[in-house]
Subunit: 422 residues, 2 copies
């Protein structure tokens, strides 16, 4: 078992889609790493896929690609059914980091190789999985590959989806050579594992190398437009204004306060964020006539998530009466419900970590992952490793190699334990 | 005296630089007029200048153009000195209205013609003036022509100033045929008048056709950048954030509250506006790492203006301690002091309005005008006519023709009265 092999492969993978320069300001006390841009269908994405497939074949895995480009590198077991999946994705956001997704694929491959090298005789088949288009940075659906696998999106819908260049998913899969000819059914798959960087600061701040995910958070977006009257800032008396910005600004503190109130009441992992907030036309000397607002609320507890949504909508609506503005709002994808992961798999990961003496804590995931889809049909677990300073989707995304090694060991041990289940 | 002549000329002028379509949303209950785009140096600006010069010459005025393109159409008087100016500008903002500036030039010409047609024998010379580049929509200095006349900017600085295309003012004046060869001195000028649309809602709301400006407001901008930490909205716990937007949002209500407090305490015409307010990177699911803020504060009372500036700066600074963000700020042009207009001219305008039985009220100007410069050296007065719904710098800028006629009559009567002063 050698970290060096995994490290080399991660460094190699990080060169596919490496950006020429930094574009995002991050923490000043980390080195200014360059980002990785590798959306689904790009040349960089093809190179990353080719690299993974070559490593799978070197290791002796049988590689299959389904109709939407999901890749499966299979190690047969003594029996055919009860397959265990382990994997993640190799696409990235624009100017993102080198660990998000990729680490889950490469550690799954490494764990499988280690079991093979140990001479471990797996009772169940193991498949290292690469999901297509997790990030939604090319096609307007995130978690694309896993959404198709669970039937949330049809193959026809997915293959016809267009990226920003107007190309369909079918076009780009064809071009990359990753349009397979079968539809992967889930009947024979029993367990699924995904190792991923936390993308938050908790493990890093607490100095804990491994997180065991119990729930993936529920999520909703509320996009609102507040319209008042655009006016000359010098000549329009204060009392004759309908200032869209003055009205809209209320929502910022309300969303934050509601999240804090829930945290103080229940503990938990509620978050509420106003991430988009722009006043138009945007000149200092014009009273803003319009503000565009984007609110993101998340909770693993459905009741709390609904509270955050309802209160934000109510507060937005109240602006109309209070300020004489008009407010329109939409929830572009409705509500993504929280996904509880499999207690059996969570317990197995915890036991596996204890067996090899790696400290681990149970936690929730605030970010979305293919595992939240897969968990609807298959017993699923996730293993988190720390993100330095909580940074992700940014060039300075970083995880210490020793933490990666600990996470890989926990993944290997879990895979071993699951693979022996009769 | 015929409104029809002035009306035709205003409609003609409104066609120079007419935009092909609306770009700015304004009041829905006004007709969607197309805007006018006529920055200094454009073809449209040349056409408007040519049109004005042709009408001046038709009327028998002697036309002179100075080194920075200011135009003077002169009607000699019995004496040489003690010249009276009346005029405004014919350049516009991008997608602006057809009255701002142009109305002041065309009514000055109309008033002068009416006096000539009446057989009025003016003791003092009258000059209809067109100032170059009032709006700052082409060159990065507003009130350009008047700033040069009072020596605030040198001829060299002005002629070397570059527009967005990298052309100097000298280049564009040459191209338009409006680079004269003399520097206009102010020694022989005693009075200056400017009729202008109010650009605010007060006269329109109160149903008063004419405003007499006593002061042009003082003005300052504070541009600030608030920097926190850009983070993942799902994975970054509420208590581990440095949300630049949550911090910056405080300033919006503070600026508004301070203006309202001064209004409630002193009456007056204090305004405070946050007109620019943008969160970056601007995705709903990213905790904003940076917010750009542009604050505009105005008052005719210096003490109140300073209070607004100081309180805004203090409130911005306080965000650092309260939210752990960093704040930088600048005041791009310092403080434009309020300009009191000439009490003698204000009285003359008021008396003139009474003589011809036009209702008029004294007021302040919340917008900047060339008259604020000219007032530093010459006894200056301004006449406002109503802006429907207070709209200006927008396609739907509108003033009723009957109000224009009343304003023109007051201007004519004032010019008559001043022109007879020994």
């Amino acid at each position: 078992m050698s970290l060096e092999r995994l490290k080399k492969e991660m460094v190699d993978m990080g060169e596919f889609g490496r950006d020429p320069q930094r574009r995002v300001k991050c923490h000043a006390d980390l080195d200014p790493e360059k980002g990785v841009t590798r959306p689904c269908g790009t040349d960089a994405n093809k190179k990353a896929r080719d690299y993974v497939v070559a490593r799978m074949e070197e290791a002796g895995l049988k590689v299959n690609v389904d109709k939407v480009g999901n890749i499966y590198g299979r190690l047969d077991g003594k029996k055919d059914k009860g397959v265990i999946w382990a994997g993640s994705h190799v696409d990235s956001v624009l100017n993102g980091g080198q660990f998000d997704g990729t680490l889950g694929v490469m550690t799954a491959l490494e764990a499988t190789r280690r079991l093979m090298e140990e001479g471990h005789e797996n009772y169940r088949p193991i498949e290292v999985v690469v999901y297509t288009g997790e990030e939604g940075s090319a096609f307007p659906m995130a978690l694309l590959g896993s959404s198709i696998l669970i039937g949330k999106v049809t193959y026809e819908q997915a293959l016809a989806a267009k990226n920003r260049n107007g190309e369909t998913l079918e076009d780009v899969l064809d071009r990359m050579g990753y349009k397979g000819n079968f539809e992967r059914k889930l009947d024979d798959v029993e367990y699924s594992l995904e190792l991923h960087v936390e993308q938050g600061p908790v493990l890093d701040a607490e100095g804990i190398p491994v997180g065991i995910v119990e729930n993936i958070t529920g999520l909703a977006w509320i996009l609102a437009t507040i319209e008042g009257e655009e006016n000359h800032a010098g000549t329009t008396p204060m009392k004759m204004r309908k200032d869209a910005l003055l009205a809209a600004s209320e929502i910022i503190s309300i969303v934050n306060k509601n999240a804090l109130d829930l945290l103080n009441k229940y503990g938990g992992s509620t978050v509420g964020t106003v991430g988009r907030f722009n006043a138009f036309p945007g000149a200092p000397n014009i009273v803003p006539g319009r503000v565009e607002v984007g609110i993101d609320v998340r909770d693993v507890v459905e009741k709390n998530l609904n509270f955050m949504i309802d209160e934000a909508k109510k507060a937005l609506k109240n602006l109309e009466k209070k300020y004489g503005v008009s407010v329109s709002m939409e929830m572009p994808f409705g509500v993504h419900k929280a996904a509880p992961l499999s207690p059996e798999v969570v317990d197995t990961i915890e036991k596996s970590a204890q067996e090899i003496k790696v400290t681990a804590k149970r936690m929730n995931s605030g970010a979305g992952h293919d595992s939240q889809n897969i968990a609807e049909k298959i017993k699923t677990g996730m293993i988190f490793v720390p993100s330095a300073k909580g940074i992700s989707h940014a060039p300075m995304e970083w995880t210490e190699w020793e933490d990666i090694e600990k996470g890989t060991k926990v993944l290997t041990q879990t895979l071993k334990n699951l693979s022996m289940k009769k």
